[in-house]
């Protein structure tokens, strides 16, 4: 009789190459994702030491962070970004790493293309020099962001040094109401535990509400694990997972598929396994969430009022709230509904997938973006863009007056010229509302694609549940 194990333990145990007494484990990496921003110094390190890439066939690269989202036929105007891209191209060519770069039909945000290509599979260890690598946990993979020194280590050895993480059960019971989405679950979690609540832990999302989610919705949740302080977050694989993976370009096929599924079915946490921490969220009680402050933990149900510093008993929290409200230029106790909006951004590795665009398009169909509001829609990958154009979503966005862009990280990280002006307010489907994140002086409200689209139409922060036909609208995203 073996000890009951969590899914994290099972993946961990299988991937420990060796562990010296007192040292961290040498952990094998199944898939290493590379992008232009966090890899150049790692490749330089390899060259300095005369090293090669150990497993180029388990490594894959794309360009996403600093690339423009203007038409691909236009030249890159930012010389520094262009140099970074050409360095990525040279590094991939020199070291034999496949690159889904600009102009490739499989280009896209690194956390969108991994799943799309079928490279992301259950039970894997997946790393990338990007904190939103937690996204891939949606498939029951142990996936986490690493720094550039670690990128170099993984390139050279296909391993890295890790201490066993603690586990944190996030149980989401019940059922979401129409208009309430995966984004609202994760924003509600982070609002409850704070941006450091998951530090040192891996979240395992469980429960009825999680099981009911599509893969893309699960990715939205796992994506923002890092905003709750957890380096990784995952969901045990099930039939929903297998259906999504099946038939994708890099998915196992034939007898190998059956063998893989049989293996994947062993992954879920055993009955009786214990977690280091645990929290329960009631999906029935959730409303659409929105942030009002300058970190993702500063979130409230959309019908609530902005908190007052005077209600904060902890002096540090009070100062932080005062500072955030001053940056956001919001009044304590004001409703967030009706707050004016200048820009709406739909996209990112959090909410830039086809189902996100379907939801936003459903809310915008036969409507117009409010006067004075700029709506930017940035598909998460070139494939998402093509699909959205095929389904007529792009036409809906354009007819509504939105700016339909090429794929990339775009205004989520605002490195590529897509950015807010100082003082502007944005409702954004991205993952971070840090000061200046979407452009110096810009002010971000994080929310779901439905909330973002509804707010674009009304020109102010709007509860998507007030949209006519919300029941059928919400169903567009899949249940």
């Amino acid at each position: 009789m073996t000890e009951p194990r969590t899914i994290v333990d099972k993946i961990w145990d299988e991937h420990v190459v060796v562990q010296d007494p007192g040292a961290p484990a040498v952990l094998a990496v199944d898939l290493h994702l590379v992008h232009e921003v966090t890899s150049p110094q790692a490749f330089s390190g390899l060259r300095e030491r005369g090293l090669t890439v150990r497993r180029p066939g388990q490594t894959v690269a794309t360009a996403d962070h600093s690339i423009p989202t203007t038409p691909r036929s236009l030249p890159m105007l930012d010389a520094q970004a262009a140099a970074q891209i050409s360095q990525l191209e040279r590094n991939c060519a020199d070291f034999g790493i496949p690159l889904h770069g600009i102009g490739s039909p499989s280009q896209g945000i690194v956390h969108v293309i991994g799943p799309q290509l079928g490279l992301t599979q259950p039970g894997m260890t997946i790393v990338c020099g990007d904190s939103h690598t937690s996204t891939h946990g949606a498939f029951g993979a142990l996936a986490f962001g690493i720094g550039t020194s670690e990128v170099e280590m993984v390139l050279a050895t296909q391993t890295l040094l890790q201490r066993h993480p603690n586990t944190y059960e996030v149980r989401v019971d019940g059922r979401l109401a129409p208009g309430v989405s995966a984004k609202d679950i994760i924003l509600a979690l982070i609002a409850r535990i704070g941006v450091g609540g998951g530090t040192g832990h891996v979240f395992e999302y469980r429960g009825e509400a999680i099981r009911a989610l599509t893969m893309e919705q699960r990715m939205t949740i796992c994506n923002m694990s890092i905003e709750g302080g957890a380096r990784a977050g995952l969901i045990a694989p099930d039939d929903t997972t297998f259906e999504y993976v099946h038939g994708r370009p890099h998915a196992p096929a034939g007898p190998a598929w059956d063998a893989a599924v049989a293996r994947w079915r062993q992954l879920p946490t055993d009955d009786g396994a214990t977690f280091d921490k645990s929290i329960t969220i009631d999906a029935n009680a959730l409303e659409p969430m929105i942030t009002y402050g300058t970190n993702p933990g500063m979130g409230i149900p959309i019908t609530s009022r902005v908190p007052s510093p005077s209600d904060e008993t902890d002096p540090a929290a009070r100062r932080a709230l005062e500072h955030a409200l001053s940056y956001m230029d919001l009044q304590p106790g004001q409703p967030i509904l009706g707050q004016k909006v200048d820009v709406v951004f739909v996209g990112s590795c959090t909410n830039g997938r086809i189902s996100d665009l379907r939801l936003a398009a459903a809310a915008l169909k036969d409507r117009r973006v409010a006067d004075g509001v700029m709506l930017m829609v940035t598909p998460g990958s070139d494939e998402v863009k093509r699909e959205a154009e095929r389904e007529g979503l792009a036409d809906i966005f354009k007819a509504a007056g939105a700016d339909w862009r090429e794929s990339g990280c775009s205004m989520c990280i605002a490195m590529n010229g897509d950015q807010l002006s100082p003082g502007q307010y944005a409702v954004s489907t991205s993952n971070r509302n840090f000061e200046g994140r979407q452009g110096k002086g810009g002010r971000t409200f994080l929310a779901s694609p439905l909330t973002a689209a509804a707010s674009a139409v009304m020109g102010v922060v709007t509860d998507p549940r007030t949209l006519p036909g919300i029941e059928s609208l919400a169903a567009v995203g899949g249940r």
Binding site: V26, D30, Q41, Q121, I146, S149, E150, T199, A414, K440
Partner: protein, 206 residues
Amino acid sequence: MAQPIGVFTSKVIPIDKENVDTDQIVPARYLKVTNKDGLADALFRDWRFEEDGSLKDPPFILDQPGMAGRSILLVGDNFGAGSSREHAPWALTSWGVRAILSTGFADIFRSNSLKNGLLPIVVPAEVHAKLRDIIERDPDADLTVDLSEQGVLLPDGSTVDFDIDPFAKRMLLAGTDELGYLLSKGADIDAWEAAHPPRIETRASA
């Protein structure tokens, strides 16, 4: 490769904020570099500089008189949250920071710091409050960090002990890095790979 950390003494720069994210430490527009140099100017860029490059008035703590040359930060909880950018510790060390005292660090930032000779020191809340008190009363108080003894010597002669991963400590004291250690495990990695065929082949035409 990082310089070994020995015993060092410095006055302290207090940054009394919690949840300082790496977008504040180095804004994303400075991530287009392809080397590690020159990031000192990007450090806390938007807290320090106006749009035209002039210093804020009043200046941010880093740019106040007497702060240049200090190598210890005292910061609020969950320092280094958010993005995994290693540019954050690169910018801090290139400005001259060698140790950061806090009640807690974000996981990736802490890991990145240890790989760059930057020592994240976690202290309990009451010790953090005591340190803030000391700095408030004497902004020029000296602290001495002794990694091998895992202690911070306070001006009153008392010592605050801190925990650190023993493996990370060994690396920091020797100024060696983890890659060298991993490369020494080549035979183990070979054996693991022989028993675990790759799940994917990214170079296969899809």
